[in-house]
Amino acid sequence: MSSVLLIRLKIPDLTALTALDAGRALLPAGQELMRLVREEVVLFEPAGESRAPGSAAARELDAGLLKAVETSNFFVNPNKERYRLIAASERGEAWTPPEGSWGILTRPRGDTRDAGLLERLQREHPLAGLSAIRRGRVWWLWTRGADGSAGREGALEALGPVEHAGRGLLVNPHSESWLVLPGPIPWTRIETFLAAPEPAAAATTT
């Protein structure tokens, strides 16, 4: 079981604001995009005994990670970012989107491991039982369809994987893969998605 670090800006996120503005222009009449939030996802993949939930090794890894995130300056810049470290032992079964939202989780089509970040972490805060750090990005969207529903399908077509200049925005399927988070989704599904060698280019939705 992996621990997860979620990072978002606490200053105005100009990328998210630009995506909001560009996204609204792409939506069909009657559909609304009320809010959009960008969050970076950092997955800490355990190794060996640390993989056993609740084990002493897993608890030690979680404690070490918390200290490393709190005291280093290469995960989070507290002057502009806020973060949430969800320890493997505390994460529960599923990841639940913020209230009223749904998400598009993206990752590079190639290797998601950040070897440089792992090397720096191990150099400055040596941790046993950590095999890899993986990265992704999630876009949380608050949408409303013409019928009063969340209008997720229409919004995904308009704002998700880019097909042509008039359709798609947040994902280029030739360099990224994506997973739709319509509601609570098992963490194991997230782990599988982020760790897969190179997911197919076609949409992977729940």
Binding site: A19, R109, G110, V162, H164, A165, N172, H174, E176, A201
Partner: protein
């Protein structure tokens, strides 16, 4: 006189040197803001989307600019056969707008993904070598080069790796000669990965055209190597030797640099000027 529009999108930073490179070969260049009316854009014979960081590369490089009405207009003009060149960030815009490679016109069939190189990531700025291949874009973009010529050029990007998830698109690019310019070793031998290919692009592509051969997405910066004075003194090969010989000779330093081939080719295609001879 042939007229080209250099499109100034918020965040680009190469519009002036791009315009100068066009003017140098006899093409009248106008720097136009991104929100000019479509009717104004239609008056031009060619379009150049310069390098930089349009909309600060928010979301992805080129992703937001690709939605601009000006780019939509340029796409329409390209369908009429007009010339369109995107350099670096401009290339990213053209790819995100689906102008290149245009196997299924209008569809986005490529990405310019983050560079991939051993033990390094992110932005990379250095000189690389490209070879001109045969393809439908030769007439417009590389006619001033001998077939197979190898030229050094500066590159400066973090997201320059041409990539597609569609094997049919990759096959078409390869079989139809759409990868008009490819990274090679300094002597011209095929690239064998890093450092010859600085970003891990499929087919070692540095520049890809559309099927019509009138739209080019090119990652290196020919406008920054337009005159011999732009070549670094320590560059290996014939261009470096020429640069060292030219020290103290103003006229020679102002002569063509290795990137001039693109603008000379454009000028010839547009009937603006006659190429001053093949590049070395």
């Amino acid at each position: 006189m042939a007229r080209a529009a250099v499109i100034q999108i918020p965040g680009v930073n190469c519009e002036y040197e791009s315009a100068r490179a066009l003017e140098r070969v006899g093409i009248e260049a106008s720097i136009l803001r991104f929100n000019e009316p479509a009717s104004v854009l239609s008056e031009f014979d060619a379009y150049l989307l310069p390098g930089g960081f349009a909309f600060q590369d928010r979301i992805r490089a080129g992703a937001v600019a690709a939605k601009l009405p000006a780019v939509e207009r340029i796409a329409a003009e390209s369908e009429r056969g007009k010339i369109v060149v995107g350099i670096c960030n401009g290339a990213q815009v053209l790819v995100e707008a689906g102008l290149v490679p245009g196997i299924r016109p209008g569809r986005v069939e490529l990405a310019l993904a983050p560079n991939k190189a051993p033990r390094r990531q992110g932005y990379l700025c250095r000189w690389i070598w490209v070879r001109a291949e045969e393809g439908p874009g030769r007439d417009a973009f590389t006619a001033a080069l001998e077939p197979g010529a190898v030229v050094p050029l500066p590159m400066a990007h973090g997201e320059g790796r041409f990539e597609t998830a569609d094997p049919d698109v990759r096959r078409a690019i390869e079989s139809e000669g759409l990868a008009l310019l490819r990274y090679v070793a300094p002597g011209g031998a095929p690239a064998r990965g890093w450092p010859d290919d600085p970003n891990g692009a499929m087919l070692h592509a540095a520049g890809i055209t559309n099927r019509g051969g009138n739209v080019l997405a090119f990652m290196p910066h020919p406008e920054r190597a337009n005159a011999l004075k732009h070549v670094p003194l320590d560059l290996p090969g014939t261009w470096g030797e020429a640069r060292r010989r030219a020290v103290g000779t103003w006229e020679a330093l102002e002569g063509d640099g290795p990137g001039a081939f693109l603008f000379r080719s454009l000028a010839a295609r547009l009937g603006a000027a006659t190429p001053a001879g093949r590049s070395r």
